[in-house]
Point group: D2
Chain length 314, copies 4
């Protein structure tokens, strides 16, 4: 798009950008978890709006070398961010408050959430099926790994139902006694459902998705992020989504130290690779023989394994 | 402070700005609610930093007409904001999660909160004394007004303790069964205590305080805001705090319509005042006689009453 | 709009909100200054989107007492901000860089500006007609007041043209010599035109307009803000615009001290009013007789005059 | 630091965190360009503040496995950001307005800049020595590469001085005629010096430095960023700075496609590597023989070369 409109005054108003594939699902709820949902309320912009913004910033030169897809890939690859801010997505979500607590930490959003000061709290809290109780991960302080035996799980699910019913009864009793809603709610379970309108620009949304679709994200919020990414963003801005999958979701990064080791390996110089690792303190011998546990080295080994490469100390 | 330092190179480094009155309370906890706290961890800047920033922006002219106090008052009165951003306050807080849910909606802050994915949740939830159960306000959908009879309150307090114990027992049972912390926590009460470092610049902090010290704010967060304002900010930046009390906490605003009515009253022209109000739709007669209830008119009447003025329709 | 969509699944997608009055001017340039423009590229939301967001936050109670107009006025009067963030406006602007320097200080915006590193700078700088040279205000360090005599102005306009031509010639000579665009541009005049896409939510846009439509704003940026406000926002969200005119543009505020004096006057107690003013240090006698100049007192007197009220010390 | 202070009330106030290496240079100007400077005015926090914030978020578990250095490296490697927001740096800068235009695009900052509405503009514009005129890069639309012959440069430098003197004379003539400062300044050169206080948290500062110390950044702003990074941040938070150099400045990233090719090469499967590249459209044959120019392929080849690896299509 040319940036000198005053030379070419429009007789007709420009048509408003729209995305038919997204218009088709406007307002339609995607179910998430046992009683949650995500749906698109409105949006602004499309892949072309990203391109339009980039072309005004980075000049006409971008026009020659790149079609739209190439330009969007270039922008995402080189971490240009402002063109993606030109698109906005507005969702209606229904989500347990404990997942919402994580969600709301993304500050570059506009939010209007149901207030339990003004209204009676939604009468629904997330329930866990007997076969959905996740075990604490042993190698990761913050994660889960594997599932509890469903027989034991059934007992926990029954206790969960009992507790949630108890909490709701206490809540109702307080309301009946005339207690203010703002105070009555205080002992509702953290997983009580809430609803909100949530609006974010595409740049910040991709950042949200990169963090919340990640395997380290908690399963509940990952379920929402995955629906937003694969069902909504992929329909809305397909070129951006493809580039995002290539340059964010599927990408790998290497530190200065790691690239130095890889460059030595590439040159066939295992000694130099070892020397670099040794200088970094990665190759300390434990008293029992092998190498002392080292988190940076372990992460690098895992990345090399993905590339079918072997570290020289193995 | 002059802005041409290159003309006057320092032989000695500048001393770092500090506020002795705040240094005295660094790290000391102010108790809030039954088991919460606020304490100052660190800060940057002082009243003089606000003045320094304003002088570079608004020029040397500010120096002649105003001492520091006058300049700070001028800035706050005229809603200049950036000079106040030059000061930062970092707090450690311990607060029930349901109050924290409101707190965290202030986005212009830096936050690190204890994670109940990584660590076992704090074993404390806010408890309510028998004489602290607040009644739902009748004239305000979101507020509370008055207190429940302590005898009835005692019953609610007992039920609260029972529910919190139940929730904790369920939480502990899940942990014992090996359930991941991130999932085990889901039915903890909303008022479970959490802890965080929370950092904000002075401009945004004043905005936070204006909203959260307001009588319409929920009592719990108001208790925190009041401690932050009166115990901490008042010590830290006393000139700014004084101006804030005058131009925010104690200020009144009038709309275009309201000022038109007041100007008519000031000119002794009650007919014109009535005409303005009538045109605005404020003076519709109900079938039963008096005026139809009108929220804008009612708010204006309340403001006039504070000024000992009488609307001409009374 | 109800917030329990899962109970009422849509068979049909929701229609996308649109504003016909704004669609009519999409892409059409509004000229500003001698060679600038503003035009709407896209938008999201409308007055109804503000209402929708407020209703989810503030609950169903809002529905009974207020129609849409009343609710929007309530929100703006009470400085609720998040519902207005649900609307976005995206403009294409052409503006002198020195006005753009002020514009860009509003941080809550998304911006893509033409880069003079990538592209040759726009060959236009703002020109001043002989009768448009503004005089330095005497009572206001930052403003202008009155106009230079056009005969003297003609001389300045001729000198302006000569300087701008000189600067452009130097720029072109550098480019011809092969100098990088990023360096060649360094001596272009500050008022060289630039172009940008600029996107902002409605809450931040109203804040921008309140500051930049103000008589204290520089005339150039005020010209842009006035077009954006009166030609664009007024068409886009007419209820919000009406409320904005009443509660921002036309509003007055009074400090705690000022309201104390007014309340004393309202009660007919001039002595108390004088005492309050005296205690505030407003009534110091100068050696020559009258009162010592005091900025706060002078501002209050000006406000009282607007209300046809007289301070008791006059 | 433990997060349960209420159990261990302080008798003494905590000492305020300070960094002696930074205190030594407080207020001392670092010269940049011909007449610019950067100096530290104040700061908040240090490496330990980052660690403290991380420990409250990520739990006590972080304490066992990591010393401070290891934790800071872990945080930066995994793009944790909030702990770095706990530190703030406040600078006084003197910088040409055209570099400032780029600088100010970083929105997460607090800024107070000298106003040329209030004060007469600083009487200095950036001057270019005869041997400092940079040539337009041929392979990069936005960059410079190499230097102009100093003889030709001398001519440009003379013309630059003449133009700047001309612009200043016009400015002064307008002021003498009584023109308002806000208007008189309009034709000053873009490279006129300005001064500002600029404050930013460490997370955003590292982002600023990653972009502005990059070889693609314009030389002028790169000069400032390099001083801020190497002279100031390296003194202030040495552990964070070391990690930043390893994980940002010296890091490399690979897309999903690139890692797939590298993994095939690592497994010794050149055919598969070629197949992946072919499917991505990287290996189209031009009519003249070799491969059609492809920007993504070229960037990948450059990265492989840094690792001493050869693409299978060479």
């Amino acid at each position: 798009m040319e940036m000198q409109p005053e030379k070419t005054p429009q007789a007709e108003a420009l048509p408003r950008p729209r995305v038919p594939a997204l218009d088709e699902i406007l307002g339609k709820p995607f179910p998430v978890l046992d009683d949650g949902l995500v749906r698109v309320i409105d949006y602004m912009g499309d892949d072309a709006a990203v391109v339009q913004a980039a072309r005004v910033s980075y000049g006409q030169g971008t026009k020659k070398v790149s079609d739209d897809r190439g330009l969007i890939r270039y922008l995402l690859r080189n971490r240009h961010t402002t063109p993606f801010e030109m698109c906005e997505l507005k969702l209606h979500v229904r989500v347990p408050m404990d997942a919402w607590r994580q969600w709301i930490r993304h500050r570059m959003a506009s939010v209007n959430e149901t207030s339990t000061r003004y209204s009676v709290a939604i009468d629904a809290a997330q329930r866990t099926a007997a076969d959905q109780w996740r075990l604490q991960a042993q190698d990761n302080k913050q994660g889960s790994s594997g599932l509890l035996d469903p027989a034991a799980g059934a007992e926990l699910s029954a206790a969960e139902a009992e507790l949630q019913d108890h909490a709701r009864a206490v809540y109702n009793r307080r309301l009946e006694a005339g207690v203010a809603r703002e105070q009555a709610r205080k002992d509702l379970p953290l997983c009580t459902y809430t609803e909100a309108y949530w609006k974010m620009d595409l740049h910040n949304l991709l950042h949200f998705l990169a963090l919340r679709m990640d395997p380290h994200a908690q399963q509940e919020i990952r379920a929402y992020a995955t629906v937003i990414g694969r069902e909504i963003v992929a329909r809305w801005v397909p070129l951006t989504w493809e580039a995002f999958e290539d340059y964010r979701l599927g990408a790998m990064g290497f530190s200065r130290l790691e690239t130095a080791i890889m460059a030595a390996l590439g040159a066939g110089d295992a000694d130099k690779a070892l020397a670099v690792a040794r200088e970094a303190g990665w190759l300390k011998q434990s008293k029992r023989g092998g190498l002392v546990r080292n988190r940076e080295r372990a992460e690098f080994e895992a990345k090399l394994a993905r590339l079918n490469m072997t570290p020289p100390w193995r």
